[in-house]
Subunit: 237 residues, 2 copies
């Protein structure tokens, strides 16, 4: 089976929000998170969508699903996320196996709740590539020059821009392998390694690249939210 | 003396413009390039601003200056740019020395014509740092994970994001040293090395970092232009 997992455990601190995490802010006719869920549901290859939100927002999210996606009840499941990104990811993987059984054939596309402008083309390419390569990262070529500074004060190196990409989502994995890779982390590694693709790369596992888009932004600041509203006006998928 | 140099030699191909390079598009009450020039002029430490545009647009640019910045005639000079970025940069440096004489004390802030949202704080910090370190790059911390791929197909490495920065402008140098560094390039190097900060780093010369801003974008695509219009509404400097 093929699953869409959504990480939406954030509580919105970078938006200076005291009342509502940013994934619940409106964008056009519906909240950001509902855009993200609906985009997954539009892809018929995806059997089910699992959303991890903070415990305080599970009921609220279920209410939004009732309101905006009433016909999708049997394809979407909301669970309580964890204390950090990795914890939420592992809870999503466990929820998949508890509900649908463990299988080496299970595929999971992972996505940020606050990154609503991905496309069906990206989903299709992620799914096609994961069967061949085992792991996939959606990326966008670096437009700005990337500068490396080890001390944050002076430049250490300026790598060849043609080899530099900005990591986006979806990231797609085999469920069983992703669990095994997370479980291989030491306590120390788990504190610092929050990027699944980085762990794969460190373990010598291939991660295939799929082309994202500059518009596939993550909404984390008020400026991003302003830009998202501009993108939403023209966005077609 | 302290000079503000503006690279505006582009002809707008990435915007699919057949009539007008993007630096001349309107943003609020005036063209993008006029915003950029006016931002430099606002900084009293900058003695003169030199703008390099394509030969076909020199007269047009002088007309814009008449219209939008009539009082600045003796602080702004428009010259014909070159066939590429490096060529335009060298012409700007030569124009400075031809007009104001050569001096080891000359400082040049270099900026993209299509990057109008820099601030007086960035200019002040560039000027302060160049006297101490000799070269300065305005940068913004990477928000997205940066992914390195040597072949463009699979991930080679995922560097520590805390060490990764997006290069912006201004970039600030001593005029005489910048000329010497460019002149030290072989024919082959000149074809591939378009980033002055990269050449400095390769030559073992320190380049100090100054904090930019996410809003300090370069307007190169229609999506950037849409975002720029959103930024312009709230921008204060």
């Amino acid at each position: 089976m093929i699953f869409g997992a959504i990480l939406a455990g954030g509580t919105g601190t970078r938006m200076n929000l005291t009342t509502m995490p940013k994934q619940f802010l409106p964008l056009g006719d519906k909240p950001i998170l509902i855009h993200t869920i609906a985009r997954y549901l539009k892809c018929e290859k995806i059997d089910a969508v699992i959303v991890g939100v903070h415990a305080d927002w599970v009921e609220y999210t279920n209410g939004l699903l009732e309101q905006y996606l009433p016909g999708a009840k049997n394809r979407v499941k909301v669970i309580t996320g964890g204390t950090d990104r990795t914890d939420t990811m592992l809870r999503l993987l466990n929820a998949i196996e508890q509900t649908y059984g463990a299988s080496n054939e299970h595929i999971v596309l992972t996505h940020d709740g606050v990154r609503p402008f991905f496309t069906q083309r990206m989903l299709e390419e992620n799914i096609a590539a994961v069967y061949e390569y085992g792991a996939v990262n959606t990326v966008s070529p670096a437009i700005d020059t990337i500068v490396v500074s080890e001390d944050g004060k002076t430049i250490s190196s300026v790598p060849n821009r043609a080899t530099m990409f900005l990591g986006q989502c979806p990231q797609t994995f085999r469920v069983s392998q992703l669990k095994a890779v997370y479980n291989s982390l030491t306590e120390e590694e788990r504190k610092t390694l929050t990027e699944a693709t980085k762990i794969y790369t460190m373990r010598g596992l291939p991660v295939y690249l799929v082309q994202g888009a500059a518009s596939n932004i993550k909404i984390t600041t008020p400026a991003d939210y302003t830009m998202a509203q501009a993108i939403a006006e023209d966005f077609e998928d």
